[in-house]
C-alpha cells in the first residue's frame, strides 16, 4: 500500500516538473512526461504515450494561459486555425503508432528536436 502511495507521489512530482516546463515554454509537457514515465516508473513506450494523452485531456495549461493572455501574448486567430488540424492529425497518428516500430520513430523525433533546439538556442544567442 505504502509502495503505491510512494509511486503516486513520485508520479505527481514528476508531473509537476513537466508542468513547470509546460508553463515556462508554452508546451503540453508530454515531451518530458513520456520519457520520465518510461525511465522512472518503467512504463512501456506505448503505455507512457497513452497515459501522457490522458494527462493532456483536461486543460492543464489553463492557469498558465491566463497569465500569458493577461500580458497580451496570445494570437487567438492562429490558435483557432491550428486546432482542427491537430485534432484530426492526432487520430491518424494514433493509428500509425500501432503499425510503426516505436524505437526508430522516437530516434527520428529526438533527432528533429535536437536540431530544432540547437537552432533556436543558436539564433537567440549567437546571431
Amino acid at each position: 500500500m505504502s509502495e503505491t502511495i510512494g509511486r503516486d507521489a513520485g508520479i505527481f512530482l514528476a508531473a509537476g516538473l513537466c508542468g513547470i516546463a509546460s508553463g515556462l515554454f508554452g508546451i503540453g509537457g508530454g515531451v518530458l512526461l513520456v520519457p520520465l514515465l518510461g525511465l522512472l516508473f518503467s512504463f512501456s513506450q506505448h503505455r507512457a504515450q497513452g497515459t501522457s494523452l490522458v494527462a493532456l485531456i483536461p486543460p492543464t495549461g489553463a492557469l498558465a494561459l491566463v497569465a500569458y493572455a493577461r500580458s497580451g501574448f496570445v494570437s487567438w486567430r492562429t490558435g483557432l486555425l491550428l486546432i482542427p488540424g491537430v485534432f484530426l492529425g492526432g487520430i491518424v497518428g494514433g493509428k500509425l503508432a500501432e503499425k510503426l516500430e516505436p524505437r526508430r520513430m522516437r530516434q527520428v523525433f529526438a533527432g528533429i528536436l535536437f536540431a530544432l533546439g540547437a537552432w533556436q538556442a543558436f539564433s537567440a544567442w549567437w546571431r
Binding site: 508553463g23 515556462l24 512501456s44 494523452l53 491537430v86 533546439g117 538556442a121
Partner: protein
Amino acid sequence: MTFIILLLGLAVGVLVGLLGVGGGVVLVPAMVYLLGMDQHLSQGTSLFILLPPIGLGALGEYWRQGQVDLRAGILCAFGMLFGAYGGSLVALPIPSRHLQGLFGCFLVLSAILLLRKAELDERPTVARKKSADE
C-alpha cells in the same frame, strides 16, 4: 497564410498521435520560424491550442489497445496544472531572446532523454514486459 496554418496543424496532429505529446514542442518553433511570431506570443498561442482536448482522438486509439494508465494520467494532470502556472510566472518577465534560447536548450535536453529511453527499450527485459502487456 491561412492554408499554411491549417496544414501545420494537421502535421503537428500526426505527431501528437504518434508520440503521445501535446504538440507544443513542435508548434512553438514552427510559429517562430514559419509564421514569424515572437517567442512569448508563440508560447501563449500554443497554450491556447492545448486548451481543448486535441489529443482525445489519439487517446481513443491508445485506449482501445489498453495502453493507458488512467490513475497515473489523472495524477499527472493535477501535477501539470499547478506546475504550469508556476512556470508561466517565471517565463513572462524573461526577455523573448533569452526565452527562445532557453527553449532551445530544453528541446536538446528532451531529445537526449528520448534517445536514452530508446536505448533502454532495446534491453530484453523491457521487450518481455511489452509483450506481456499486449
